[in-house]
Each structure stands twice: as structure tokens, then as C-alpha cells.
Amino acid sequence: MPGPLPWLPAYLVERRPETAAAATLVLGVPGWPGHLPGQHVDVRLTADDGYSTQRSYSLAAPDHGATVELTVQRVADGEVSPFLVDDLAIGDPVELRGPVGGWFVWSPTLPTRTLLVAGGSGVVPLMAMVRARHEAGAAAPMRLVYSVRTPDDVLYAAELERRGRLDEGLEIHVVHTRRAPPGDARPTGRLTREEIGSLAWPATEEVLTYVCGPTGFVDQVAGDLVALGYDDHRIRTERFGATGG
């Protein structure tokens, strides 16, 4: 019987603004055991009177030793996310426990095609997969379909553009639901089943699919993929990405 996953002190090393409402926290975590793309961590904050609270956040980067990255989206009225996005000071500690989750995980050694479908901040654990594929120089094809409200809400925008241009076998499709960038031929609106069908591989191909986002988005996309003939046992879902109050 293994012992409990320990709470580890994690120190803020760097804060990278991603959008007006989201930032990536780079944390130094001495003793971090490593993780797989797609896994998440529990974060615990304790006030000086002993009050503490916990949230779960997806890991945004692959295993880099004792450094982990969390992308946190500020939730209006949230107890934790505004503090993490705006107030946690460089060098200050939080506590971190993990990695957690052994199902919504991806490995660069997988030989099959990988379809990633993100809604909003659900892109965070999928970005860890895109980055892991890049760092491993993996050749198996990967497609990311990323649904987001406006161009201003796109997380990792510059890096995604670069990865999509430079990484062989990687396709990035960003679709906008409320406002598109000038010159975008696609009308704004939600992903339709027909559009998913055109962006995904045919259901006859062997594909492993990961869908992450708000509940309604995940249910819609996963249901559309099943209707398109995708094997429901090869669709892995996770609700919400960098949310959690």
C-alpha cells in the first residue's frame, strides 16, 4: 500500500499573462515526481489564520522535472483563481499535490492519430499534449480543434500558430463562436457536427480522441463524434480545464 500523495511546497517562479483573464503560473516544486500530459494537480492555499481551501488545475506543460505550469482562468467572484492570476507574488509558496488522473492522459509513443477538441480553457491539458508531442519529436498525426469566443480569448495563441506551422503532422484549427479575426472565412458560431466531421479524420481511421471544456460543449462534441461513427470507447472526456473558482 503506497503512502498518501504528499502536499509539496510550490514556489511561484514566473507568471506569464496569456489573455486578459488568464495567466500561466510557473511553479518550482522540489521533489515533484513527474507527470503525464493531461494530468492535473490539487492546489491548496492556506491563510494566516489556518483557513485553507483546495482547487484542481490541469497541468499545461509536459514533465520538466521540478517545474510545473498551471494556466489559471480568472473566475468572476472566485475565491482562488483571482488570487492566483493577480496576487500571488513571485517567490511565495502554495501547496501542490499530484499528479492526479490516469485516464485523460496522452503519450508521445502512441502510434495512433490523436484528435484534441477544446472548448475555452479546456485547451490547457490538451496544450500539454501538443507540447509533449513537439518535445518528443513524435510523428503520429495530431489535430487540435479549439473553440473559443473571440481572438482575445485564445490561450497560447502565438505558440499554437507557431506549432501548427512548424510541427510536421500537427494541425491547429481555431474556431470562434462570438467574434472572428478580420478576414476569417468561417462565420462565427458553435462547432457543428458537420464541421467536426470535416475537421476530424473519417471514423474508419483509428483515432484516439480527447475532449475537454465546459460540460455542454463536451457533451455536444462527444455526442457528435459518436453520431459520426467514432468508437465511444476511444473518446476520453474531461469537463472544464483551468476553471474551479
Binding site: 500500500m1 503506497p2 503512502g3 498518501p4 500523495l5 502536499w7 511546497p9 490539487d42 491548496r44 492555499l45 492556506t46 491563510a47 494566516d48 489556518g50 483557513y51 485553507s52 481551501t53 483546495q54 482547487r55 484542481s56 475565491e79 482562488v80 488570487f83 496576487d87 500571488l88 507574488a89 511565495d92 509558496p93 502554495v94 501547496e95 492526479v100 488522473g101 490516469g102 485516464w103 485523460f104 460540460t215 457533451d219 462527444a222 455526442g223 463524434l225 459518436v226 465511444d232 470507447h233 473518446i235 476520453r236 472526456t237 469537463r239 472544464f240 474551479g244 473558482g245
Partner: protein, 199 residues
């Protein structure tokens, strides 16, 4: 006490004293599932209980609705940290379903229409602690929340309350289910914060 994060105040110290450790209150009803939501028609729905001796008992949808119904109001605690208090359900107590089942088993493995499984001690299904629920808040249980019927065992973390339940296998041995094989706690008591293996 954990390491203090300078500047963190938090709130909610007195908002919900009945919450288990590490949980926060939500008024939504979040959905968590490992895969797509299955379509199970009530005509196709059935619950099968299999004993350690291989004896089977089966209830169709009509059989289930013909049994005595209960309307528990319970608190839900998800391992992902949210808790929802005072939820209203309607369903059949496992005490009723297992009343005439001959068994000396110690463990139960719950099976679902989507292939999901979860394990728990049989005694946690008995004595008014567990139901096969088919209504939530006065309405037929929505598919996303496990409709047409799910297990409801609210004194354990919510992953034990398996959605789209199709069967219960009784056994002398404890066989880990889906999340229990993936690092989550075998028992999952929220009040002892048994989230992950070893907690």
C-alpha cells in the same frame, strides 16, 4: 496546518460548516464522466445483481418502478472538490433490491452501460445508505447525470455513485473499479478525505 501563502485571505470560513475537509460549496450540478454520455432507453434498461455463487436477479424498468420508492434528500461530495447540499432524489433502496438475494459476500462491483465500474463494501450499500435513483429534483434523471438510473451512495465521494448503472456483482474479494485502478482511493470517505490511493 499547511504552509501559509502570504496575502491569501480566502472566504467561506462560516458559510457551510457541514462541508467535509477540502470541499467547497457549489449551487450548480457539475457533470464529470470519463467518456461520452450513453443513450440508454428505459425499454432497454435492466439491473442485474449477481451473487458470489452466480445466482442472478434481474429488474426491468417496470419492475424497478413497481418497487417501493423512497425520496432521499442528501449532500453530494465530488472528489474534484465541489459539494452540493440538500439534493432531492427518488429511487429504490438497495435494501429493497437485495432483500431476497442470498449472499454472504463482503464486496460489490457496480457495472454500468458505458463500461464504467466502481467497487465498494457491500455493507455500504445497505441500511438506508444507497439507492438506485431515477428522479432528481422532481424530474426524470437527465442522461448527463446518469439517466435513466444511477446508483446513489452519498456518504462516499460521488464517483462511487455510478451513472447508467446496469449491474452489481457481489464477491468475496474486493476488485478495484475504473477510477480505483487509476489512483483514486479504494473506499472514498469524504469526511476522512480519502481522495487518492494511500490517503
Amino acid at each position: 496546518m499547511g504552509i501559509v501563502t502570504p496575502g491569501f485571505r480566502g472566504r467561506g470560513r462560516d458559510s457551510a460548516p457541514e462541508l467535509p475537509p477540502g470541499q467547497y460549496l457549489t449551487h450548480d450540478f457539475p457533470v464529470l464522466s470519463a467518456g461520452p454520455t450513453p443513450h440508454v432507453e428505459t425499454d432497454d434498461w435492466a439491473l442485474t445483481v449477481t451473487t458470489e455463487a452466480g445466482a442472478r436477479s434481474r429488474w426491468s424498468w417496470r419492475d424497478l418502478l413497481a418497487l417501493p420508492q423512497e425520496t432521499p434528500t442528501v449532500d453530494l461530495h465530488c472528489v474534484t472538490k465541489w459539494s452540493k447540499l440538500g439534493t432531492r432524489w427518488r429511487g429504490v433502496s438497495l435494501d429493497v433490491l437485495l432483500e431476497d438475494v442470498e449472499t454472504a459476500a463482503d464486496f460489490a462491483l457496480v457495472r454500468c452501460f458505458d463500461g464504467y465500474t466502481t467497487n465498494l463494501p457491500l455493507e455500504d450499500l445497505l441500511d438506508g445508505q444507497a439507492w438506485v435513483a431515477h428522479e432528481y429534483d422532481g424530474e426524470p434523471l437527465a442522461r448527463a447525470h446518469g439517466g435513466p438510473a444511477r446508483l446513489l451512495v452519498p456518504h462516499l465521494y460521488l464517483w462511487k455513485s455510478a451513472k447508467w448503472i446496469s449491474g452489481i456483482e457481489l464477491s468475496d474479494t474486493d476488485e478495484p473499479g475504473f477510477w480505483e485502478q487509476l489512483g483514486y482511493h479504494d473506499y472514498g470517505d469524504p469526511w476522512r478525505e480519502q481522495r487518492y490511493a494511500g490517503d
